[in-house]
């Protein structure tokens, strides 16, 4: 399977260097969301890498995506060149709270 990515120009350049051909540049959350939908429709995409800044701009869509049944694609968020964001919504944290019933991550 292939890896796809949505990010700013720097991130995309970096990922292209390691052989991720389907790395798309997006500038806004809406832009990223459009690319994201396209990638969901594409055949053979196993992993979608998104920069945190853009992910934050399409948070609702990603939250909905976290409820899905299908095994692939998997989505992973990575920091852009400015470093990790202090997360407002951590999907894992949210799921954990619902499943276990207690706060598990700081």
């Amino acid at each position: 399977m292939r890896i796809a990515a949505i990010g700013d120009q720097t991130t995309v350049a970096g990922l292209r260097l390691v052989g991720i051909r389907e790395a798309h540049v997006a500038s806004t959350g809406e832009d990223a969301e459009r690319k994201f939908e396209e990638l969901l429709g594409a055949e053979g995409v196993g992993l979608i890498v998104i920069t945190e800044t853009l992910a934050e701009g399409m948070r609702q869509r990603l939250l909905r995506f976290a409820e899905r049944k299908a095994a692939v694609p998997i989505v992973v968020e990575i920091p852009d060149k400015l470093g990790p964001l202090p997360k407002k919504v951590d999907i894992i944290k949210k799921l954990a709270r619902r499943a276990v019933g207690v706060e598990v991550l700081k």
Binding site: I20, I78, R98
Partner: protein
């Protein structure tokens, strides 16, 4: 399952059936409770790896970005982007699954993550050594990302299964078992009532004969 009390035949056979059902349901309930607890434990197990995986991804990715900026300084960002666009051989990953407590969780493996300079697709003549270094760093960063993706996805799936199991445990505990108990009580009372009627009838007849 959802029968109204009035539709139940209060017979001994029905009582036995209900009693059997109660035993079975209670056993299932215990098993599900154990499954839920085991899932929660697995969840915490994997959770301890999450913090490390995140930190590692942040670290190596930060380094990769720094190298890339250096390459951009050395050869200009346009040239870097041009070189990157060459991509070379597409990177393939395999997503297999393994099972944790019956939950299929992914195992991501990259085929040939680290490539030789000549396999990266860009022209060696027009690029600088900094770019090679940046590419190498990004390969390392990608490995960390794949690990992180694997762990996050595993947690997501475990959380979902835990939630589902919890819901089933609750429904057994608060709906199914109480309903069976009510049916059992209803039949028992009815049978007792019949018994008393019969007893009384016998006494009456005895009194009439005597």
């Amino acid at each position: 399952m959802a029968v109204a009390i009035s539709e139940i035949h209060p017979t001994r056979g029905e009582l036995l059936k209900t009693l059997r059902q109660i035993t079975l349901t209670k056993r299932g309930y215990e098993l599900l409770k154990e499954k839920r607890d085991a899932l929660v434990m697995e969840f915490f197990n994997v959770l301890t790896q999450l913090e490390d995986a995140r930190k590692r991804t942040y670290e190596v990715l930060g380094e990769a970005y720094r190298s890339l900026s250096l390459a951009m300084v050395a050869m200009g960002s346009l040239e870097v982007r041009k070189a990157a666009a060459a991509t070379g051989i597409e990177l393939e990953i395999d997503i297999a699954t393994r099972s944790i407590m019956g939950v299929a969780v992914p195992v991501i493996e990259a085929q040939k993550l680290e490539r030789k300079v000549t396999e990266r697709g860009y022209s060696l003549v027009q690029t600088s050594a900094e770019l090679d270094l940046a590419a190498k760093k990004f390969e390392k960063a990608l490995a960390a990302m794949l690990k992180l993706a694997e762990i996050e996805e595993t947690l997501r799936l475990l959380a979902r299964e835990t939630e589902r199991t919890k819901r089933r445990v609750n429904s057994l505990e608060h709906v199914v078992i109480p309903r069976l108990e009510t049916i059992k009580k209803f039949i028992e009372r009815h049978l007792e009532e019949l018994e008393r009627e019969n007893f009384f009838r016998l006494k009456r007849i005895k009194a009439m004969i005597a």
